[in-house]
Symmetry: C2
Subunit: 144 residues, 2 copies
Amino acid sequence: MFSKACEYGIKAAIFIASNSFENRRVSPKEISEEIDSPQAFTAKILQALVKNNIVKSVRGAYGGFEIDKDKIATTKLAQIVYAIDGDGIYKGCGLGLHTCDENHPCPVHDKFKVIRDELQDMLGNTSLEQLALDIKSGVSFLKV
Amino acid sequence: MFSKACEYGIKAAIFIASNSFENRRVSPKEISEEIDSPQAFTAKILQALVKNNIVKSVRGAYGGFEIDKDKIATTKLAQIVYAIDGDGIYKGCGLGLHTCDENHPCPVHDKFKVIRDELQDMLGNTSLEQLALDIKSGVSFLKV
DNA sequence: TATAAATAAGATAAATTTATCCGAAATAAA
DNA sequence: TTTATTTCGGATAAATTTATCTTATTTATA
């Protein structure tokens, strides 16, 4: 569904958010341990999230990654996915046709549209806050 | 969503089915031209479909690929996807956790479950026949 | 039985994704 | 201002997916 990079990015953002609730900055090392991902690769993905204004980084001693508290509720999964994987998952054709729309549909166009629209809605309506709160309260988990 | 291999596999199966309605066998060359895919790679995917008993191949002169007429209606998209990509798309965790279920859910488990279940239903209920008939009647298209 | 036509199978190559490494730049604190 | 700490950025490597090529095997027909 999503690329590995995107999976790591989503989990990293959730972990950063859950720590930012308590004003704790976290390092790539800490992040990759908590989400069970390769550290250097995760650091690269974090840079992408920074460039896309989803998380904030503070360089130097006592630095790390954080998310502004008021941004945690307004940031949606869709933004993270878009920053890393683009919008192909919920915009592109299910069979890879470059030109696929109502007027020139691929064989599964209608059937896929339902699912992709639902996916897009879900990503657009799910906030980092919901996900981070579930982590903090122990309802859900970022690794096994 | 699906791998390239799977996209090609689905389109190839639809094209073969639409020809099998008229008892016409088709070659990898013809298939790759009609679905706009690399020929040798497509041939490899066809082998996988043969091994999984989704299409039938006839070697030698006047050979080619076909699907038994009575199989066209009973073959579902799910079988093709499973043969090439496995069931990760609608069975695996959205964030890649190996252990992710009701008891130990990832942060997006519930939200993804809805979509994956719907995807699984769709793939399980969509027959090659429906898709092939739309191609034959010009309602949908396999390439631009 | 010989020949031509076709798929099967294995080796290899190219492209993309995933992952690692290392030096540069920035920052807080001593 | 120096030092320790930390992210940034570029180069590189490994793994996977996508794609190609070449040879073997099968089969219908002359």
